[in-house]
């Protein structure tokens, strides 16, 4: 990042929430980069920026769409990059219709038979189906598979190199974003046209062969019902400007805390196996062959997937994985539907989930809708919490608004609750994977105190005991557990399993001699190799823990290849083939990174080239080619089925091939761009305990609410609210309001306010600040209320949790909840807890604000399908 010429930070409070990484922004600034911060509030990040642009929460696509429009309208795109490295020239299916044609919907919106959803067939390239590199492979792959995996006909992709055809991606893009004019951005985001144009111009002039710009985001982009599409919009901006795969470019997803990146790579996600390999579905993956047919690709790097799956099965099931039993594929658990966090909690609240392990997480505060989270756990038979302290989640059976109100007594809760003290990072060996895929090792400094143990210890010994418990069982359902390899050596006084032995397993080894493999290109599909995660293969190359390398930066190049290890294959910039032109020469001397050495006949550079080492730029695949042979010498995006960066996504998404501005589920205004108000494919949970507020122009909930973190506390507070040095820095829950809203509502700085949404109400101290200003939208003012979400009912410093106000509504692609934009009301004064306890009133019947009729039924009717209409309050 230090090599950037311009850094656009949007959907992230980089300086406050990622202060250590922010040093590289400051380094870039010192070297002359322009720092732009697009955020509803003026934060400590804005204080460091050259330009701060406030936009209304939930209008990120409108802003980014405006940038795309500006780039196209003024022909500021990087033409050579665009033409060769993206799918700009590809012809799309004749049947495709855009949101321009269909009032804010894409073609394929199917409301007949079952739940309304998109049929994606018309989104494909003309005559060719592509298996997505990420996203919903099982849905797309299944539809495309015939005799083998989808993508066999990739050589038939039609292109128009002149970009003139109205059916080519470039022209579709132009039409789709035609209405995202600077005036529309002003009207939608509440950002002045002048400031918008200044940013657009700065970004464009800082991009090109000689210059690069970076985009940074975090959960300010993801936690929306259109979260994935916001990031898609950013990808389009960066592909148009030629900023991917080049030094100082890219899109940086900043991670909220240590090793969150690691927990997606080797996932704690329900729908992925290690290395972004899809989890098998019960119906579609009856056999290994069927599974590979529907989830791997005939073209691009994912054609290698069978090698990774078989190596994974060998690592997990060892000798029980044989050629004659499909490498024990039947032992893998299967999905029967959506098992995401929100669905699991909603099911648990219905009594359908019996047990719940919570490790290193405090969902009652950190996830959405704390009241529903507690309700769910009360319906579980047992709950296990592992943490440093008794968090709100560990105390769900006795701490919460319902107990304070007297609606429920702890002795009525039937759940069996177990609490295990956890070891801190300094008390165990292990690794952290950070935002830039760098995997760094940490050594144990001391033994954990008392009964505290590492997660590794807990899971290893739990598995060991379970295996003992079922030893001798001949029941076929117990076979996966018994077949699991679980032989990690232990050490120390507490029989701690060796973390390094797990790194060795993840790296992979040849079965015959047990020697570590040097990387994922050595993995095989014939059962001769094992690897716990192909993407991390090479992290224990030569039998050395590569993660523990600590060669200082002054002893190596600025790329620092010998500091720790980065996946994949120690590459520091992904898709870095794009840092050279189609002929393999650097785009410019200033941005030189990886290039083709024609004498050596291979790719060389400052970093490990992210390309097939000896494949010349001039290589072109045969029309019938499959597998790695389909990757042309000028296809930098090797994971993609067609080797190109996707401006337009023909596959993978459930809510459209192009990003489109939809209002959040709860918004005070009507969608200024389309008659369609919200993302039609968003996921809702229609329940009495999860009411929504749909109507816009509603005086009952007139303001926009947004939630966030501040520098002083750590996420849900488990590591900071029990710590006096951190607690004193920000000792109470507060809300941030503008001076205008404070005057309008009657709030006093340092006083109290009550904040309400359709689901609940909380109290908070008031911080009146000029860092927030109301948004001027087409002649009307929209106020916003900012809430940090760190506090809860336990700990040294306490306060109401912001998530009592949030609901269950999610992005369809990744099931993340919408916490960054919803509607609320705010009143001066504290919440009356005693009154309700005395009168015995329950949630939903509480007194309305003066002069306002309020009942939950009026807040949104229950129906089977998400509302697809705009609804004005009446």
């Amino acid at each position: 990042m230090q090599n950037s010429d311009c850094i656009l930070i949007q959907g992230s409070n980089f300086a406050e929430c990622h202060p250590v990484g922010f040093q590289w922004v400051m380094e870039a600034k010192r070297r002359g980069a322009t720092i732009i911060h697009v955020d509803p509030r003026f934060t400590r990040t804005s204080a460091m920026a050259d330009v701060h642009a406030p936009i209304r929460p939930g209008t990120d696509i409108a802003f980014l769409g405006g940038l795309i429009h500006y780039i196209l309208e003024n022909e500021r795109y990087f033409r050579d990059y665009l033409l060769h490295y993206t799918n700009a020239a590809v012809i799309v299916d004749d049947g495709f219709q855009d949101t321009e044609d269909l009032q804010g919907l894409f073609s394929g919106w199917n409301t007949e038979g079952g739940k309304a959803h998109y049929d994606f067939r018309t989104w494909q390239y003309q005559g060719v189906g592509t298996v997505p590199a990420a996203g919903h492979k099982e849905i797309y792959g299944q539809a495309l598979a015939s005799t083998g995996p989808g993508g066999q006909d990739i050589g038939n992709i039609q292109r128009d190199e002149t970009l003139a055809s109205p059916r080519c991606v470039f022209r579709i893009l132009e039409r789709h974003f035609a209405r995202y004019t600077p005036e529309m951005v002003e009207k939608t985001c509440g950002l002045s046209k002048d400031l918008f144009l200044k940013i657009a111009e700065k970004l464009c002039e800082s991009s090109g062969p000689d210059r690069t710009s970076a985009l940074c985001y975090s959960v300010g982009w993801t936690q929306h019902a259109v979260g994935v599409q916001i990031i898609r919009a950013a990808s389009i901006v960066q592909l148009l400007l030629g900023n991917i795969g080049r030094p100082g470019g890219g899109i940086l997803a900043l991670r909220g805390h240590a090793s969150i990146q690691g927990s997606t790579d080797i996932p704690t996600l329900f729908n992925l196996l290690p290395g972004y390999v899809p989890m098998p579905h019960a119906m579609e993956a009856q056999s290994l062959e069927g599974y590979l047919k529907t989830t791997s690709s005939a073209s691009g790097w994912w054609s290698e997937m069978p090698k990774y799956v078989v190596s994974l099965l060998k690592a997990w099931y060892g000798q029980a994985a044989r050629a004659d039993n499909e490498w024990a594929f039947a032992h893998l658990p299967r999905l029967t539907g959506n098992h995401s966090h929100l669905t699991t909690i909603a099911d648990m609240a219905e009594g359908r989930v019996k047990g719940y392990f919570v490790m290193g997480e405090n969902p009652v505060v950190g996830s959405t809708h704390g009241a529903l989270q507690r309700k769910a756990m009360r319906r579980a038979e047992w709950v296990v919490v592992r943490d440093f302290v008794l968090t709100e989640t560990a105390e769900f059976w006795r701490k919460g608004a319902e107990y304070e109100r007297g609606e429920l007594r702890p002795e009525e809760v039937q759940t069996e609750v177990f609490f295990f003290p956890a070891a801190a990072h300094s008390e165990k060996d292990g690794s952290f994977t950070n935002a830039h895929r760098l995997v760094q090792w940490h050594h144990k400094a001391i033994e954990p105190p008392g009964e505290a143990r590492s997660e590794l210890h807990f899971l290893f010994h739990l598995g060991r005991r379970l295996k003992q418990l079922y030893a001798g069982s001949s029941d076929p359902k117990d076979r996966p557990l018994l077949a699991l390899t679980w032989d990690y050596p232990t050490e120390g006084p507490y029989d701690e399993p060796s973390a390094e032995s797990i790194v060795r397993e993840i790296n992979g080894y040849t079965i015959a001699d047990g020697k570590p493999v040097s990387g994922y290109t050595k993995l095989q599909a014939d059962g001769s190799t094992a690897s716990g995660c192909w993407l991390y293969s090479g992290c224990y190359a030569d039998g050395v823990n590569q993660l523990a390398r600590r060669k200082p930066h002054w002893e190596q190049s600025h790329v620092a290849p010998e500091w720790a290890w980065a996946w994949p294959d120690n590459r520091r910039i992904l898709y870095n083939r794009a840092s050279a032109d189609p002929q393999g020469r650097p785009w410019s001397e200033r941005k030189r990174y990886v290039w083709w050495d024609s004498e050596k006949g291979e790719w060389v550079g400052k970093d490990k080239p992210d390309f097939i080492q000896g494949r010349p730029p001039s290589y072109r695949p045969q029309k019938e080619a499959t597998g790695l042979a389909t990757i042309a010498g000028d296809d930098p995006f090797i994971m993609q089925a067609d080797g190109k960066g996707w401006l337009y996504a023909p596959s993978g998404l459930l809510d459209g091939p192009l990003p489109t501005h939809y209002e959040p589920q709860e918004s005070p205004v009507a969608n200024p761009l389309y008659p369609q108000q919200c993302n039609p494919a968003r996921v809702e949970w229609r329940r009495k305990d999860n009411p929504y507020h749909w109507a816009f122009d509603d005086p009952r909930f007139p303001h926009v609410l947004t939630t966030y973190r501040i520098a002083e506390h750590h996420t849900a507070g488990g590591m900071s609210r029990w710590q006096s040095w951190l607690s004193e820095l920000s000792p109470e829950m507060f809300c941030e309001v503008s001076a205008e809203l404070a005057a309008f509502v009657g709030l006093r700085n340092g006083g109290w306010a009550t904040v309400r949404t359709a689901r609940g109400e909380i109290e908070a101290r008031v911080l009146v600040t000029e860092r927030l200003r109301p948004f001027k939208l087409d002649g009307r003012l929209v106020h916003s209320v900012g809430l940090p979400y760190h506090w809860g009912g336990a700990g040294r410093v306490r306060g109401d949790a912001a998530n009592e106000l949030l609901g269950f509504v999610a992005d369809p692609n990744v099931n993340i909840f919408e916490s960054k934009a919803l509607t609320c009301s705010i009143l001066p004064g504290r919440l009356s807890r005693g009154r309700r306890a005395a009168t015995g009133r329950v949630v939903g019947e509480y007194a309305a604000p003066p002069g306002v009729q309020r009942d939950l039924e009026g807040v949104g009717q229950l129906a089977d399908e998400p509302s697809q209409k705009k609804e004005r309050w009446s």
């Binding site: 300086a15 406050e16 202060p19 250590v20 922010f22 040093q23 400051m26 010192r30 003026f42 400590r44 990040t45 804005s46 204080a47 460091m48 920026a49 050259d50 330009v51 701060h52 642009a53 406030p54 950002l191 002045s192 400031l195 200044k198 501040i710 520098a711 002083e712 006096s724 040095w725 951190l726 607690s727 004193e728 820095l729 920000s730 000792p731 109470e732 507060f734 700085n749 340092g750 101290r765 008031v766 911080l767 009146v768 600040t769 000029e770 860092r771 927030l772 200003r773 040294r796 410093v797």
Partner: protein, 260 residues
């Protein structure tokens, strides 16, 4: 060689890591849990248990070189600390010799000698040194004397993620400060200047071992624009007192004489 801090407020992100690192290394207690309503600042000021303090200045004035859509506004951030004055008021006021000048040129309170008389407290022109309520002794930043003895840099400087807190030889720091000043001025921050680095610019303290790059008037950051160590005025006070005594005597004599 004199050691000190150069705090470059133009890159301070207000993360308060310095406050916490200081408290952790020096094992200082918390200052109580009070919501002040003053921006994000809840520790309010330097004191006996807060030896680094980050000031948050929200002001209705734009910052040179910065554009924002929230109107005429800017947020200034500054990590404040004991200035370790070349001529230190606290040291000169201390009757027990508890406060000493170290071999690093810094000002250090020896807790085992301090008797809690508190003379040092009003003698500090910056309001830095303070007595702790429990035992009455005076406490302030030691510039991590113990770490310096061990060849380490102070905890706050070590932890600062953006290099806002620079530690080193004061001469080198001064050169760096002026280099940085030229750079930020070129970038449009015309109001930036160096606070307290020399005896010429701050005669009342004869210069500071901990100096700052700040923007605008020092009062914005709760720093005095012309701090003067009280003992600096001792000669002047004695002269004034002498003059006053002479005047009183003269008046008395005059009164007697005039009534004759």
């Amino acid at each position: 060689m004199a050691k000190g801090f150069f705090t470059d407020t133009s890159v301070c992100i207000g993360c308060k890591a310095c406050e916490v690192a200081c408290k952790q290394w020096n094992q200082l207690p918390d200052d109580g849990f009070f919501f002040t309503g003053m921006s994000y600042d809840n520790t309010a000021h330097l004191g006996a248990s807060t030896w680094r303090h980050v000031a948050f200045v929200e002001r209705p004035v734009p910052l040179g070189g910065q554009v924002t859509g929230v109107g005429r506004f800017s947020l200034l951030l500054e990590s404040d600390v004991c200035k370790h004055c070349v001529r230190a008021g606290c040291l000169e006021a201390c009757p027990t010799g508890a406060i000493t000048r170290t071999e690093f040129g810094t000002v250090y309170v020896q807790p085992d000698v301090c008797n809690g008389c508190g003379y040092c407290v009003p003698a500090c022109p910056f309001g830095v040194i303070d007595r702790r309520a429990d035992d009455g002794r005076a406490w302030k930043c030691t510039l991590c004397y113990d770490r310096l003895k061990g060849g380490l840099e102070p905890a706050c400087a070590k932890t600062c993620p953006t290099g806002s807190i620079g530690f080193g030889d004061t001469e080198e720091l001064r050169a760096k400060a002026y280099e940085r000043l030229a750079q930020v001025r070129r970038a449009g921050l015309k109001e930036a200047w160096i606070y307290g680095d020399t005896a010429e610019s701050q005669p009342g303290t004869e210069g500071l071992h901990a100096f700052f790059l700040i923007v605008g008037r020092p009062e914005l950051y709760n720093l005095p624009s012309d701090p003067v160590v009280p003992t600096k005025k001792a000669g002047q006070s004695w002269r004034a007192m002498g003059l006053a005594s002479v005047g009183v005597v003269a008046a008395a004599v005059g009164a007697v004489l005039s009534h004759r």
